[in-house]
């Protein structure tokens, strides 16, 4: 209630379909906006790119995880066999062929774990409380509506112009995003 009075933390524009959103995002980025984010009920090709998103950290993390895993797996087997050398059925002490399998398994385990942790960390998840949830109709963002939220502290943000721009970009309606109880930290 009290929040109504506060200056809005940003503007939330609702779009009826994905193409509109995609277009809007692209134009917004072209016209120099940086601190904005698009929300959609399903992944849309090129949307993030339209916002100027470019990163391959996850692939890197996975790769590292895989290497660490494989090293751990193989190292563990070699180490334990040297630590207490035991003759097992006359097999070689360090039996590479036999060690391959566990090496592979641990590689997979570490790679996948790293991959998913990286995804969550980079996305700053879990994040149960977020100002966008204050937007009136945001609940539809997981159903069939598409949202574009411009942060108030974007360099080019201007309540009137931005609203106008969003309208021009085909937003079916533009509502102010109420300020958060704690200051909004922008998306990276």
């Amino acid at each position: 209630m009290a929040r109504r009075a506060d200056p809005p933390a940003g503007l939330a524009a609702e779009f009826a379909d994905a193409e509109a959103l995609l277009r809007a995002a692209r134009r917004l980025h072209e016209s120099g906006y940086r601190r904005f984010e698009a929300y959609s009920p399903f992944p849309i090709d090129g949307l993030a790119e339209a916002e100027g998103f470019k990163e391959s950290k996850i692939a890197a993390a996975t790769l590292v995880g895989g290497f660490v895993g494989a090293a751990t797996g193989y190292g563990m087997q070699v180490y334990t066999n040297l630590d207490f050398p035991i003759d097992v059925g006359g097999r070689p002490l360090i039996a590479q062929p036999a060690f391959v399998l566990i090496t592979f398994e641990l590689m997979v385990l570490f790679a996948v774990t790293a991959c998913i942790l990286a995804m969550l960390l980079l996305n700053r998840l879990p994040k149960l409380y977020h100002p966008v949830f204050d937007i009136e109709r945001f609940g539809l963002a997981s159903l069939d509506r598409f949202f574009l939220v411009v942060d108030a502290d974007d360099a080019k943000f201007d309540r009137k112009n931005s609203r106008a721009l969003l309208r021009r970009l085909g937003a079916v309606n533009v509502t102010p995003m109420p300020a958060a109880d704690l200051e909004v930290q922008a998306e990276p």
Binding site: I44, E105, V112, I116, E187
Partner: protein, 451 residues
């Protein structure tokens, strides 16, 4: 244009509502409770049987020397095998951009997860001294002894552990967006909190989606070889030993294909049932049944080839003991299992050559059931036919599973059912957002073509 959008929106809405209504406002609760209680009863049976085994020892089973592995191990292989279909469907088909998989992957993966749980518990229960099972894990023990990493069992220990963890993570990551959707549909606060926490505060931001996709695709790419490695290693439990009928190079692919086969059969069964039970005809369409039928048929025929290769190998190799084991499989005490496997696996399967049968839910279900049972027979046959009469005539024996072995087996089905029923009850069992994505992209494509 606008009308199209409207249509699309309606489409999206419909999909999500269809999917989320089930956990939020569960239809025909009564039937569910009946099924659930039945499952719980079986689960109880499971616990009792395991308890008895722990209390008195493996002697409670029918095992003996020479057949010191019995139903426990064959079930282990059977369960894990079934699990493989889920991962294949969701991972491999995802990579191949087979959009139709979106209606199936969610519960297929859940099925995988629970099957692996059921399978993974068996090797522990079957131990002579289960309270020491952790000796298979490498940890700094005061006795300074480590696990024996040249043993196929140790390989399995790691394989199954990895498989379980990876499938669980893959499954969960895939479900997050729909959890968010359910959260947003929820009316009751408790439900909102429940799904809210599970959804980790997912809000569908473009960058999140981007990263999510990267991660999901990567995991999928890794999961495929993982699946293949897992059942290859399980086949090593047999293939690494010197026993006639086991020591065969065809086993790894043979096991993997068999696994996929049984898995697809089970997925087909689940698909037909849930489709009917929750009226999801327009999410799980005839197309899906058709595809499932094809997959089952394809892997089934490959498995058949495995059978052939196995027999051919023995005959061509001409090893005395190999031939003898082959003879035992054809005409011995467990011939019922061999012919049971051959008939149940491959005879009804031939129906699936015709689309008419593939898209007929009842037919598909029955074929799936027959294949599932058939593969159980195969696992049993492979294990017993070799062990009960291996090399020395003097050590030839018999194997008759005991009451407790059977109850443990049926109990494990109860365990699976319990978990799966809980899943369909409280989680969105179909991937709504992926269907939406698919529809959108199809729409895009359509438009592009319209120019």
């Amino acid at each position: 244009m606008a009308s199209q959008d409207a249509a699309l929106d309606a489409d999206y809405r419909h999909v999500t509502r269809e999917v989320t209504r089930i956990p939020l406002a569960f239809p025909h609760k009564r039937t569910w409770w009946i099924a659930f209680l039945a499952a719980l009863t079986l689960l109880g049976l499971y616990l009792v049987s395991a308890g008895v085994t722990f209390a008195v020892g493996i002697g409670a089973w029918g095992n003996d020397i020479p057949v010191n592995w019995g139903i426990a191990i064959s079930n282990y292989i059977w369960w894990i095998g079934i699990g493989h279909a889920g991962t294949l469907i969701s991972a491999m088909l995802l990579l191949m951009r087979q959009r139709w998989r979106n209606s199936l992957n969610r519960f297929a993966e859940a099925m995988t997860l629970f099957a692996v749980v059921c399978g993974g518990l068996y090797p522990i229960i079957h131990l002579g001294r289960p309270w020491f099972f952790y000796w298979m894990a490498p940890y700094p023990a005061t006795m300074g002894v480590w696990p024996q990493f040249k043993s196929p069992l140790t390989w399995d220990f790691f394989a199954v552990l990895t498989y379980l963890t990876v499938s669980a993570m893959f499954w969960y990551v895939g479900i997050i967006p729909d959890l968010a959707a359910t959260r947003d549909r929820a009316k009751r606060h408790s439900a909102q909190v429940f799904f809210g926490v599970l959804a980790l505060g997912w809000r569908g931001a473009a960058r999140h989606w981007a990263r999510w996709r990267q991660a999901y695709r990567t995991c999928a790419a890794i999961a495929v070889p993982l699946v293949i490695s897992v059942h290859s290693e399980i086949s090593m439990i047999f293939a690494a030993g010197p026993e006639p009928g086991w020591m065969s190079t065809v086993f790894p692919p043979y096991f993997v294909l068999g696994a996929a086969f049984s898995g697809f059969a089970v997925v087909a069964m689940i698909a037909t049932v849930t489709r009917r039970a929750f009226g999801l005809q327009d999410l799980i369409t005839e197309k899906h049944l058709d595809m499932l039928g094809r997959l089952t048929l394809a892997t089934g025929m490959m498995t058949a080839y495995g059978y052939f290769a196995d027999v051919f190998g023995a005959l061509y190799g001409g090893g005395r003991y190999e031939l003898h084991t082959l003879h035992e499989r054809f005409f011995g005490e467990v011939a019922w299992a061999y012919w049971g496997a051959v008939i149940l696996n491959f005879v009804p399967l031939q129906l699936l050559w015709l689309r008419r049968w593939r898209v007929a839910p009842v037919a598909l279900f029955l074929v799936g059931l027959s294949c599932t049972i058939g593969m159980w027979c195969e696992r049993y046959m492979l294990l017993v036919s070799t062990l009960y009469r291996d090399y020395l005539v003097s050590s030839w024996g018999h194997f008759w599973p005991s009451f407790w072995e059977w109850t443990l087996f049926f109990g494990s089905i109860g365990l699976w059912l319990t978990l799966f029923l809980l899943f369909v009850r409280i989680l969105p069992m179909i991937s709504a957002f992926e269907i939406k994505e698919a529809t959108f992209e199809e729409e895009e494509a359509a438009e592009a073509s319209r120019g």
